[in-house]
Amino acid sequence: MLYAARMDDAQLTLDLDGWEGPLDLLLSLARAQRVDLRTISILSLVEQYLAYVDDAHTLKLELAADYLVMAAWLAYLKSALLLPRDPSVEPDPDDLARRLQHRLERLDAMREAGARLMACDRTGRDVFVRGAPEGLRTVRKAVWTAEIFDLIAAYGRVSGRTRPVMHVVVDRAVMTLEAALERVSMMVGERLDWSRVEAFLPASAVVPGAERFRRSALASSFVAALELARQGRVELRQAAPFAPLYLRATPA
């Protein structure tokens, strides 16, 4: 009920006759005494505050919750300060009064500091920076780095990736179609009569242990014979399937 105003966001800041909250009002009353805040009588300040709140007939009570809470607390503080000291009462009322006085002093100090801050040489009011600076520009430039090891390792990696394929090609002895074409067409011109296709194989293909190369050479020579026949440069003869294949140059 009393706290209703505090819960309502729109009314968080109570503006009571221009005071920004009870602490502000207390500070204003204290300053009106024109004494150093450090030596102010908290008791008389409390009395002034209570009197002020009492007199404020125009207060809208539902908006003044904070002021009334403060009034209640100050009334308690006042009675505690006036009554004989009871050591069992915690906290010590003198201590509470000192804290209140400290808070007033601190709020006053911050208010004063704010005013002095605003009076500093402010940019755009008292001092000015250059109106039309050219501005500084930074052009980013990449500086590429790599180590010799990276370079060598990269080449090793590339080679390692592709080399096995190379090895297979070198390892397998083959006679290419081009080679066979060249060999067959050259040799067929030198022979006048029918010759078996095997006769055109290179010598290295017919030695023991060269079986793979012989088969490659035979296959290529056979295809070469077909190609030459297609071109009309040789004639082919075969008596039966799988019988020996003969070829000779086309007679002029």
């Binding site: 920004e20 009870p22 500093c120 009011r125 600076p133």
Partner: protein
């Protein structure tokens, strides 16, 4: 007028052309890395001295340096229509509290002022780039902390935060001691402590 050496001249040009205060490192990046931070610093000292008594000069703002006009020439330069951002009283006090106590939580600011901060006050200060969030306090609720920015020093013409008017006296008087939100709140709010935690949450 003196003819400055090449480094002083380069530092002078960089600071003059810059559209914001520069750190020693930023200056070095432009004048060439051959100059050490010490060289640049020495060049700045020469320049500061060179411009004494002139219409503008070099000032330090935090760890940055810039050219600006001499404060006593404000009357010559002030443009009638132009008034820097006007802060509300709440805004001024809040800014002062943040500057002198930083880093502080919203609850601490409220404890010092004795009222809650209405919406918009911190927004305005952050929008002006004078205040920034600066981490969280490692207490229950992990309330956000606020502190001032480099732009704050620049705007208010402060070399460093220690340059804040009267800060040493205030500290000596114990007026900048850490704020005990819990105790402060009880002092003027009597018994309803439960509100403290709530306010911490939205700080």
């Amino acid at each position: 007028m003196t003819r400055p050496d090449a480094l002083v001249r380069a530092v002078e040009a960089v600071l003059f052309a810059a559209d914001a205060p520069l750190t020693l490192d930023a200056i070095r990046a432009h004048v060439g890395a051959i100059a050490t931070a010490r060289d640049v610093r020495a060049a700045i000292e020469v320049l500061v001295e060179d411009y004494v008594g002139r219409g503008f000069g070099i000032v330090r703002r935090g760890d940055r340096w810039q050219f600006q006009t001499a404060p006593d020439l404000a009357h010559v330069l002030r443009r009638e229509s132009e008034e820097p951002r006007r802060l509300s009283r709440a805004g001024i006090e809040t800014l002062a509290i943040i500057a002198y106590h930083e880093p502080v939580t919203r609850a601490e600011i409220e404890a010092i002022r004795g009222v809650q901060i209405s919406k918009g006050v911190l927004d305005v200060l952050m929008e002006a780039d004078w205040v920034r969030p600066a981490g969280r306090r490692e207490v229950p609720g992990r309330p956000l902390l606020y502190a001032t920015t480099a732009a704050f020093l620049v705007h208010f013409g402060l070399k460093t935060r220690r340059d804040l008017p009267g800060i040493d006296d205030l500290r000596a008087a114990g007026l900048l001691d850490p704020v005990d939100v819990d105790v402060e709140d009880r002092t003027d709010r009597g018994s309803h402590e439960s509100t403290v935690a709530k306010r911490d949450d939205d700080a």
